[in-house]
């Protein structure tokens, strides 16, 4: 694990050192580019405030992700089961993803106000897609022979989903979930940025207006860290759900 991550860790440390060096020799004025040490300092001093905002953002992200996963799951199963639905809605599904979320967010704010609802809707819109597409691909690529075998044993449609289709779609589902988890945080921040009372996005707009670049960088790192943490959680769940992967082949 450590050996595997060593090159990337070294690369990050190296970049941080260069950054610090650039700031120390005064190549860029301090108010435009704070040094890494300044950022860490801002992070520590702002921690209580950052924590409160982060909790709001996380709450939105979780609720949005939850509904996004549920909707994505149902949509994928329906489209797999009924070919007509697939033909009717798959192109539409793709189109929804070509609309930039920064364009929808203000509309959602107009329709649903500054509270949590528009934010959650935006997150749902941006997270259900990777779930639907991933799961649908997985369901459709299930082994035809295995399905025939189950049919020869008199299995019902539900049993075919239960024993073949859903388990064999798990890897694709989790790839989708990992992307959706990252999208959920970004989606929350964007919608807060465009209108709201709390959350890391709101915090960002405030520090931007104050030209507090050190705090800006601190919040950027925090958002990255939260996204990474969520993705790591998904990976953990993935490993728990699929113990048969990464088996050492022993007889």
């Amino acid at each position: 694990m450590l050996k595997h991550n060593l090159p990337s860790t070294l690369a990050v440390v190296f970049l941080l050192l260069i950054w610090q060096f650039v700031c120390i020799i005064g190549l860029v004025p301090a108010y435009m580019l704070p040094s890494p040490v300044d950022v860490v300092w801002a992070f520590v001093s702002e921690w209580p405030l950052l924590w409160d905002h982060a909790m709001i953002t996380l709450q939105e992200a979780f609720i949005g992700l939850f509904f996004g996963v549920c909707i994505g799951f149902v949509a994928a199963i329906l489209m797999d089961r009924f070919d007509l639905l697939y033909k009717a809605f798959y192109p539409l599904l793709i189109i929804t993803q070509t609309i930039p979320s920064v364009a929808i967010a203000p509309l959602l704010v107009l329709w649903f106000g500054y509270e949590m609802t528009p934010k959650i809707i935006l997150i749902v819109i941006s997270t259900f897609f990777p779930i639907t597409v991933g799961l649908l691909e997985g369901l459709r690529s299930a082994d035809r022979d295995a399905i025939a075998l189950l049919r020869s044993m008199g299995a019902t449609q539900w049993q075919i989903y239960r024993y073949i289709k859903l388990p064999s779609a798990l890897p694709q589902f989790f790839s989708g979930l990992r992307i959706a988890a990252a999208y959920s945080v970004v989606g929350a921040v964007i919608s807060e940025w465009l209108g709201g009372f709390g959350g890391l996005g709101v915090y960002m707009t405030r520090v931007k207006k104050a030209f507090a670049f050190d705090k800006m960088f601190a919040v950027i790192f925090l958002i990255s860290a939260i996204s990474l943490l969520l993705m790591a959680l998904v990976e953990l769940a993935e490993r728990k759900c699929m113990p048969y992967r990464n088996l050492d082949k022993k007889n």
Partner: protein
């Protein structure tokens, strides 16, 4: 005269107007092992899909224990060419699958399955995943699953064709021993003449394009057999006869 288990009567099937099977009739008696021997692509798997009820025949019917089961899946055990063990289930849960499909609860299914692991030479593999087993062991597990679905009649589609020669030899002996114990009535597809003679009570020779029954050969050698039967002059005589008919 032994009881008739399975009768396949005058089955014909076309795909896109091209005849694949023509007037195929087969009978299978209680406890018998009967082989369908023929070249690959001769429609043998199509015939099995019809017998298993996965595919409707154009003509003919399938009778199991005196009952017409044409086009009704879920009556006969079917083991396909690939072992089709589900990679995400342990061996015991793979074997238990037919029981679970019938509505047996998980604990009872596992108990029933575990009683047979020793008989099938699968001790110690219960908690392993298919990827951790050798090809031969996987076929054993697949056969156990097939047997657990129905102890009545089984269709085996080239179950050992993917194995290397040495593994195949040992699995043939294993198979003869297991069959001696469980007395499963079996219809067996193969393109391996030696395998057909070694294992079968009777052999149907299937000619290709379209698939027809060209001949029926009874192997008189009594059971239980040892795999050194394949080194005897009688064995060679059967082989000569089959080669002359193919």
């Amino acid at each position: 005269m032994r009881m008739k288990k399975l009768e396949v009567n005058h089955i014909s099937k076309c795909f896109d107007g091209k005849p694949i099977l023509q007037d195929i009739s087969i009978t299978l008696n209680q406890g018998e092992l009967v082989s369908l021997l023929g070249v690959s692509g001769g429609g043998k798997t199509t015939l099995f899909n019809i017998i298993a009820g996965l595919l409707p025949p154009d003509e003919g019917n399938v009778i199991l224990n005196g009952k017409d089961i044409t086009n009704q899946p879920g009556q006969i055990s079917y083991m396909m060419q690939k072992d089709l063990l589900l990679p995400y289930r342990t061996i015991e849960d793979n074997a238990a699958l037919p029981l679970l499909l019938k509505g047996v609860n998980k604990r009872d299914a596992r108990t029933q399955v575990s009683l047979l692991f020793a008989q099938f030479g699968l001790e110690g593999t219960q908690k392993k995943y298919p990827a951790q087993l050798s090809g031969g062991m996987r076929q054993r597990a697949a056969l156990l699953r097939t047997y657990l679905f129905s102890q009545d009649v089984a269709l085996l589609d080239e179950p050992f064709s993917a194995l290397d020669t040495l593994t195949k030899r040992s699995i043939h002996q294993w198979y003869l021993d297991v069959m001696e114990k469980i007395q499963l009535t079996t219809l067996f597809i193969t393109h391996d003449i030696d395998e057909a003679i070694l294992l079968s009570d009777r052999i149907y020779l299937l000619s290709g394009n379209p698939g027809r029954i060209a001949a029926e050969i009874v192997i008189q050698e009594p059971k239980p057999r040892r795999d050194d039967f394949s080194l005897t002059p009688e064995f060679l005589e059967y082989k000569r006869k089959i080669l002359s008919l193919l």
